[in-house]
Symmetry: D2
Subunit: 266 residues, 4 copies
């Protein structure tokens, strides 16, 4: 891995601008929202709470990659419209997943940042296509991608012309079954020390257990992460998907308080 | 996992027809050819040898998913034309990988069977799109896909209307580093015993070491596989990609002899 | 890994003699019996059936390594006496696990071959001590031991003076949860091709599912294994431990028939 | 896993006393020293520096479990004597590994705390024997032990009568090869939240790369660890073993400063 665009020596540390939010700057970026967009009403309530807490970017899944073709696949275009409405109302930038290269243009009408999900980290077609836009990209690590494959995935996007890439560590697949995934904070330390790209951590998928999210959020920031993406809901137990790993607004608030205290020490 | 199209009780065992070749019938199907299509001349020589050995389907990569964006990405359309020319000359059906939903129609002008590679097993967009065709699909297992995720990926294709799906076990990612992957023949036994879908094995990727391909081919057939996909070349050491796991025509011939002997016993 | 006693070039292929049974010779060795020794009566019935089927070595656990200290830990000395009684009555050699270096002398009063279990593969104290005896050793692969660590474990025994070592592949720990372990037949091909040590396969632990044992037994022999170790019981569902992976005498008989047919082909 | 001695509801949180040091109390415990004991002179210099930094417990390997029987196996009894001499001189408690149940009594003449290494986590013989002493035990997680197997290993010691057990997370074996192991801080969060046993983290083995030790030390404390075990040396590059993951005294000092700052925030 020599002479890559992602290398420290190929330029300054990358900062990615999502509307007014800068990822990779001193302040840690908090991205939050429900796993799936469910309805305008619920989303508006969630957005209002997140805005009040000082969350920087609103997330929500409109297109959902699901293991079974018979599971809920997301509200799709309706979900995008809901996200966009709430984002405008609350003056919050929006990040949402795109799964199909043919949808990029449409999704960008509503969203400010595109997420490439874990299952699509090796989808080089999709990586090249988002590389042709100038949109900020949130690139999740593949389920069992090595650190070096993940950095090469970022390189696919950057080599296509788009340097606005943020990595997202979300846990890897191991033999351990107590937690949904094994959150690999070594990867954050490696990426931050040796490469010039911002890294955020998703402790929701990284643990799969809401009671661990708070602790692992703090550990992620301590490992050098530039921010967090946390699944939250006004009524976590009633989330349409990923309920077991979704935190309440109260928990999210406490996490943000601790992160802010930590920022002053590190 | 109840009431899936892939379940034994949802219909007869599936047999997939690729021109005159039937995968899932009594005779084991041998698919072979180089990792990448390199030139018309080399491909024609390879095709002639494979035809003489009795290989059933010719494989060759035209679109290559590579970890680095700077590695050789395949001859693309030129590769497809070469494959098609050789296939016609030798009267051999062609299987080749498709990576982009927008390429399906074009690739089907040249190929008889579409391969979904390991990196795209979770690319549900692509699965749904090949599900809209009637083309035979060779669905490789993802690098770290569970057996159940792999069966659900097949279900995505079948639920979209295309039952012509063949699974391909190609080794999974584990801690072991002596071999490139850990060939999981348990998965073949499970799929054959409990589901109605044909399964072939790729011992080339499943070991990464050409000296193990012969032994693991025999083991795969013994585990119940309906066929094999083996990377071969007239000059293995000069293969543009995957040289370390590519066998010679002589080795391939010996493998096919042993497989035939085994068929009479099992 | 150069100049090891286990290397091909350091001597002839090793054959390990367990009373009259030679492991590593042309005939495949079948080791069978229940997971745990339960009672003299049951063990005698099992021994009689196994003898009639032509099984070569009788296995049974007297000292059982269990994840929980509160689970059944085996009949210990009583178990050894039962095993020995049945072995003498049926004229069958006995293999059983030893977990404590201080027990070796005692266990060898009853058993003909010592098993080092997966959990003790890295227990170098125990390896060195069994290396000081001349007893045949069955060395199971650790839960997540690499092939090279496993060969080095054999080397610990051999370097201490005992060359009578047989490797036993029993599946490795991976992300896959459908099967109890992932049976790694690549490891058998590697060990047989590159080292001079016999290898047998345990498809019972390698799958964890009795309905897969038959198929994976055949695949193991096809991969070059010198024999099989299969958990069997006269009443599998009533086994005190590992019932889910224990086969009946009828199944064992069919497996042995197929193995014999396979021997003539390969 | 119900009604275990390790459960929260079976008693107060455990605090383990190693001479005057209390692990599991408010102050974080720092254990440090070289991978192997090399000589009295070097060890004395290291001990002096560690004492000056405020390290609480001195570590050093006298009995070394090594993959190859031909690698350096430690200074054994001489190593123990050196450790003990330095410990007395510097008034520092000593922790060192014991590999053989027959050595426990001897090792306890020199050491204040016994380490059970990763390779022996499933060595139930050894666990039961250290359980018969009252000595503080540092129980490292097995290379690929699940969290629940690790807790059961602690339970083996506790059920034998010794409650003075401290868990040590040291990274697990995964497919990732950039780092030596994948440090699993989820496991720390689980153990601290749901069980009553102290947990320390070994970021040296958990990363295998000295440049990551500092960052991952901080992350470990943030994840709730009660302390750290860090390999250090006065001349890291000249360490007899594990040089690549050994830090200098300067680095160790900086880590301890940051940990102290963190303690005040969390």
């Amino acid at each position: 891995m020599k002479n890559l665009l992602v290398d420290k020596n190929s330029g300054d540390n990358i900062q990615v601008k999502v509307r007014d939010v800068i990822i990779g700057a001193q302040e840690k970026t908090i991205i939050s929202g429900p796993c799936s967009v469910e309805s305008l009403d619920t989303m508006m309530k969630i957005g209002r709470e997140l805005k009040a807490l000082g969350v920087h970017i609103l997330r929500g899944g409109a297109f959902k990659p699901r293991t079974s073709p018979y599971d809920f696949q997301g509200l799709k275009d309706d979900g995008l419209r809901i996200l966009s409405t709430v984002g405008k109302e609350m003056n919050l930038p929006i990040v949402t997943e795109v799964m199909d290269a043919r949808d990029i243009e449409d999704v960008l009408k509503y969203a400010d940042m595109l997420q490439i999900g874990s299952r699509n980290m090796y989808n080089y077609t999709l990586l090249k296509e988002v590389g042709k836009t100038k949109a900020p990209i949130l690139l999740k690590r593949g389920l069992s991608a090595t650190i070096s494959e993940w950095l090469y995935a970022a390189e696919y996007i950057m080599a296509a012309g788009n340097e606005n890439v943020v990595l997202c560590e979300r846990g890897i697949r191991t033999f351990e079954s107590y937690t949904r995934n094994t959150l690999d904070l070594n990867s954050v330390a490696v990426a931050k020390q040796k490469y010039r790209i911002p890294v955020i951590v998703d402790p929701s998928h990284g643990t799969g257990l809401r009671e661990l999210v708070s602790t692992m959020s703090v550990a992620s920031i301590a490992a050098g992460a530039d921010g967090l993406m946390i699944e939250s809901h006004i009524s976590p137990d009633n989330s349409v998907s990923d309920a077991r790993q979704t935190v309440s607004m109260e928990t999210l608030g406490r996490i943000m308080d601790t992160v802010r205290k930590l920022e002053t020490v590190l």
